[in-house]
């Protein structure tokens, strides 16, 4: 009912009679399975047999959310009937750990086919929360840790899947929570997660999601390191020089500009939505950073005149720079008018925005 990327078949290509009959047969079988499952659940038959029927049905249609609820009702009942430990190599469903790991394994294959299906991700989280409530601590912890590996694999298949990124952040938070309450040595995973984003953006500078996650991790990272003033400024400088290098490599990449804007936004103390990187900035520091970045970007114009992101960034930063009291030593309002006219030429789609921008020029 909401298909993406499926080519349209023209009206003349009607199904052959044979295909039509096959489809009708399939419908009959599917409807039969649906009614058996619903009937047996309504009768309270919370058995292995019915659980298997829900597996079959959900494999065919993972979007059928009510069946996921039925499956959880059956599992919840079984959890009350079975021991919470057992010989792990056994394949039987006769204990809770096997039931849970069996379900988790099946879900991996579903997630590979349907990495954007909300219900599958939900069921997986539900299983892990059940595991923590019902299983011995170490067994439950092993399961949470195993998830990090799984989500790493899924992100290597689609590095922008926002379900997977959200899941990753959630898993990390759970592992941190668990190790804070237990005796485990690692109290924070923020260093490892930060390194992970480094690895991801090195593999592909256009990975917007990885840049996003990096922007969220930096404040935590600095707190975790108990970074002093110097360390914080070093961090900011290192990030700026890395991103300037990336801009020089490919100024047409939107993700890189996103991260540059993030760094610039941390300069002004008025931005309270996110923690600043350097906490002791004076007006002079701010102006200095603005000048450094604006001049750095202006340099790229020498070789690249047809990249709209450059003009957008220059205009945005120049306006902020004047707002905090910058002077016209390094660039003038005439420069800004020229950047704007280049922008208008390169990006006519957003004409209305450039009109509003021009109106905001109050000099």
């Amino acid at each position: 009912m909401a298909s993406h990327g499926v080519p349209r078949i023209s009206g003349s290509q009607v199904r052959s009679e044979q295909l039509r009959l096959k489809e009708l047969q399939h419908i009959t079988e599917y409807k039969k399975l649906v009614s058996i499952v619903n009937l047996k659940v309504a009768e309270g038959q919370y058995t292995v047999e019915v659980l298997t029927l829900t597996t079959q049905l959900l494999t065919e249609n993972a979007e059928y959310y009510t069946i996921w609820n039925h499956r959880r009702r059956i599992l919840e009942y079984m959890f009350t009937q079975l021991p919470n430990t057992g010989p792990t190599p056994s394949n039987s469903n006769q204990n809770i750990p096997n039931l849970i790991t069996g379900d988790l394994r099946w879900l991996v294959s579903l997630l590979r086919q349907l990495p954007k299906c909300y219900w599958v991700w939900n069921h997986r989280l539900w299983l892990l929360q059940k595991a923590e409530a019902l299983l011995p601590t170490t067994a439950a912890h092993d399961l949470w840790h195993g998830e990090l590996e799984l989500v790493g694999k899924l992100l290597s298949l689609d590095s922008r899947n926002f379900h997977a990124w959200g899941y990753r952040r959630f898993i990390v938070a759970q592992i941190v929570r668990i190790s804070a309450s237990g005796s485990a040595s690692s109290q924070s995973m923020v260093e490892a997660e930060f390194d992970y984003t480094t690895k991801m953006v090195k593999a592909n500078l256009s990975n917007f999601s990885a840049w996003h996650n990096r922007s969220k991790l930096i404040p935590h990272l600095l707190d975790h390191r108990q970074a002093d003033k110097t360390a914080r400024r070093e961090m900011l400088d290192a990030e700026f020089s890395q991103i300037q290098a990336a801009i020089n490599t490919d100024p047409f990449d939107q993700s890189i500009w996103f991260y540059h804007q993030f760094l610039m936004s941390t300069l002004s103390p008025s931005d309270t939505r996110h923690a600043a990187i350097a906490l002791d900035f004076t007006r002079q520091d701010q102006l200095r950073y603005y000048e450094q970045e604006i001049l750095g970007i202006k340099d790229i114009l020498e070789d690249t005149r047809d990249c709209k992101w450059i003009y957008e960034a220059l205009l945005q930063y120049a306006l902020s720079y004047f707002k905090i009291g910058g002077n016209t030593q390094n660039f003038t309002t005439t420069d800004m008018q020229e950047w704007l006219s280049n922008l208008r030429e390169l990006d006519p789609l957003r004409k209305g925005r450039w009109d509003d921008l021009e109106r905001s020029f109050t000099f």
Partner: protein, 343 residues
């Protein structure tokens, strides 16, 4: 029941526009009418979990096309009420569990059909029941909402709650301030919103957060210049809109991005004519319906969001849509401007 489009109704007549700018009103109307008759297609059965949403999409699309009576009112009403549970929640179809997603669609359909009185007649205290079901899904500590008793939380459900409760006149049942605080915690430096705190900005979530803030009367917390800039960059050279940076264009984002821009008064930051032609290009001129991209298979979801986008862009002859509720503006006005609302 009128199924015929008279001249001048429901879209500009074909002769006055070049083919690529035409809206095939009659084709879309019959496409939507045909949806419930496709029982010999497996897809019909595999999408039963979307039946209630499908009805909301189809019915609202018909209103936008100027054919509000093209589906039988009583049958729709019977269907919706047959999906209501004792709890006050609605499932996607009879026998499906209750969930926020279908509850809001049900309320929207009832509102569009002007059927709140029918509801009370058939289910005593029905309005209050629905209100209490929705309110019970709010987490009092964080202000956010779960989709159902199994606990998934997402800003989508928060929007659904505010949408339905305000239509029912029952916003007083929940802690709106807490809900607003939660939305603020999902805001990113780029002005956008994710589905949870720390999540990447996403056009769909931005729509739900802005619309929820609009209903709460709190658009003042939006960083509209930054957000407007981010949203306007969603328009690609082909005129279509994508949902996140570096992604492909898709008709459904015509709605989520454009309505968000409209809510912050910056719809003029994209090229409306180019967007309209992109959507029109995604029509199936023979069978009716609109696809995600030109040449693809149509479905009711993209048909609806494509038409909603065109209505927002004031395509000639279409009925105007409310960017907050995603319903015909005349209908939300009728309901929300009633003097006894929220009493």
């Amino acid at each position: 029941m009128s199924l015929v489009s008279g001249p001048g109704r429901g879209g500009m007549t074909d002769a006055r526009l070049p083919r690529e700018l035409r809206l095939f009103v009659d084709k879309h109307v019959s496409y939507i009418q045909s949806l419930d008759t496709r029982k010999d297609e497996l897809e019909y059965w595999l999408t039963e979990h979307l039946r209630m949403n499908g009805l909301y999409w189809g019915l609202t699309a018909l209103h936008l096309l100027g054919h509000p009576d093209a589906l039988p009112r009583n049958e729709m009403l019977d269907f919706v009420l047959s999906c209501m549970h004792e709890s006050g929640g609605f499932g996607a179809a009879p026998g499906h569990d209750a969930h926020m997603l279908y509850t809001v669609s049900s309320v929207q359909i009832l509102a569009t059909l002007d059927a709140f009185d029918d509801l009370e007649e058939r289910v005593k205290g029905g309005r209050q029941k629905i209100g209490h079901y929705i309110a019970s899904l709010q987490n009092p500590a964080t202000g956010t909402f779960a989709g159902d008793e199994w606990g998934e939380t997402d800003t989508r459900f928060l929007y659904c709650a505010l949408n339905a409760l305000s239509l029912l006149g029952l916003l007083g049942l929940i802690d709106v301030d807490k809900a607003v605080e939660y939305i603020q915690s999902c805001q990113n430096f780029d002005g956008g919103y994710g589905n949870r705190p720390e999540a990447e900005s996403h056009s769909g979530q931005i729509f739900t957060c802005l619309a929820a803030l609009s209903i709460a009367g709190r658009l003042d917390v939006v960083e509209s210049d930054r957000l407007g800039a981010w949203l306007s960059e969603r328009q690609l050279k082909n005129g279509g809109l994508n949902g996140r940076p570096e992604k492909k264009e898709d008709v459904c984002y015509s709605w989520w991005v454009a309505s968000s821009l409209a809510m912050i008064g910056k719809l003029h930051w994209i090229d409306g004519d180019r967007l309209a032609s992109f959507i029109l290009n995604c029509q199936d001129p023979d069978g009716g319906g609109i696809a995600d991209r030109p040449g693809d298979m149509v479905d009711v979801f993209h048909t609806f969001f494509g038409l909603a986008g065109l209505s927002l862009l004031k395509y000639p002859g279409m009925v105007e849509i409310d960017p907050v509720y995603c319903m015909p503006l005349a209908i939300t006005k009728r309901i929300l401007e009633k003097p006894d609302v929220n009493s």
